[in-house]
């Protein structure tokens, strides 16, 4: 069986992108400013990560031009929710892999010196 870390999704497995997905999946959608302030990111950094998530089909970007000031709303897709759940499961497996006691090798005890 492969190590759980091999199952981490490259599109998601980056702290900023994981944070974005965590916020979006906890709510229903969030706007650009809320994400930027919550995650303490610069506009450029957030945009580049949003572009990667959108490219991977994990979020949908919706520009609300009708508002008094233009706002960008981000919504997680079904694939995005699944990707976050998979990522969290993989991280938990990584932790569990060291918490489980190691199996004894053939029941042999170390010989006395």
């Amino acid at each position: 069986m492969s190590h759980p870390s091999r199952r981490l999704d490259d599109a998601v497995h980056q702290r900023t992108r994981l944070g974005i997905l965590a916020v979006l999946c906890e709510g229903g959608r969030a706007d650009f400013t809320y994400l930027r302030d919550t995650l303490e990111l610069t506009d450029g950094n957030l945009w580049s990560n949003l572009a990667k998530l959108e490219e991977a089909g994990l979020i949908a970007v919706d520009k609300d031009a009708a508002a008094t000031r233009a706002r960008t709303w981000l919504t997680p897709t079904r694939a995005g929710r699944d990707a976050l759940a998979g990522e969290i499961a993989a991280l938990r497996e990584i932790i569990a892999s060291v918490e489980q006691p190691r199996p004894e090798r053939g029941g042999l005890r170390p010989e006395p010196i």
């Binding site: 091999r6 981490l8 900023t16 994981l18 706007d31 508002a67 969290i88």
Partner: protein
Amino acid sequence: MQRKVPLRQTLTAPASPRQATELLGDLADLRQSTRRSLGAPWFPLIVFGSLTALAGVLVDAFGPSVLLAYWLLASPAGLLAVRRHYRARGRRRGVTGRGRPAWMIGVMLSCLCLAAGIVGGRLGGAPAGLLAPVWIAVAGYVAFGVLQRRVAPALGVAACAAVTTVAAAGGAPSWAVEVLFGAGLIVVGVLLVLAGEER
């Protein structure tokens, strides 16, 4: 108030157990912070508590026959008021909850309460007609609780339903049962605000 939860800049693949633990902790903080921004569902409690208490006043004045017509008008009005409130709040705060599932639960809950009132009234008389929607409302708040990962509102509504059931079993008049449940919902809503669940 929005809380800032910076993620630690630690993770590089493959993750070590320590890094994984730290990252999971950060994600949990972020999710909690987002939940706090979303706030507790106090507004529907106040709206539907007020509507229920008003129903009690109408029952006292015109008798239980007025309830069907009243709820056919009051339910959609209440749902629209709640939807309008959450849309405005979402725009103000920049983050919204899962609107569509919540809206579907709300509509289904209203229809089921109405149906339970009619069927309960026909099968078990006035007390059943009053109490069936009350316990349907409890089930609805449990569903909301699962959706929003909040147990407090569902527990509050269940406590109101229990008190209302005891009052009805003790022979309280129909209007008093309605007013009691409605007032209970309002109290739960106010308590959620006072407890800081809503900022």
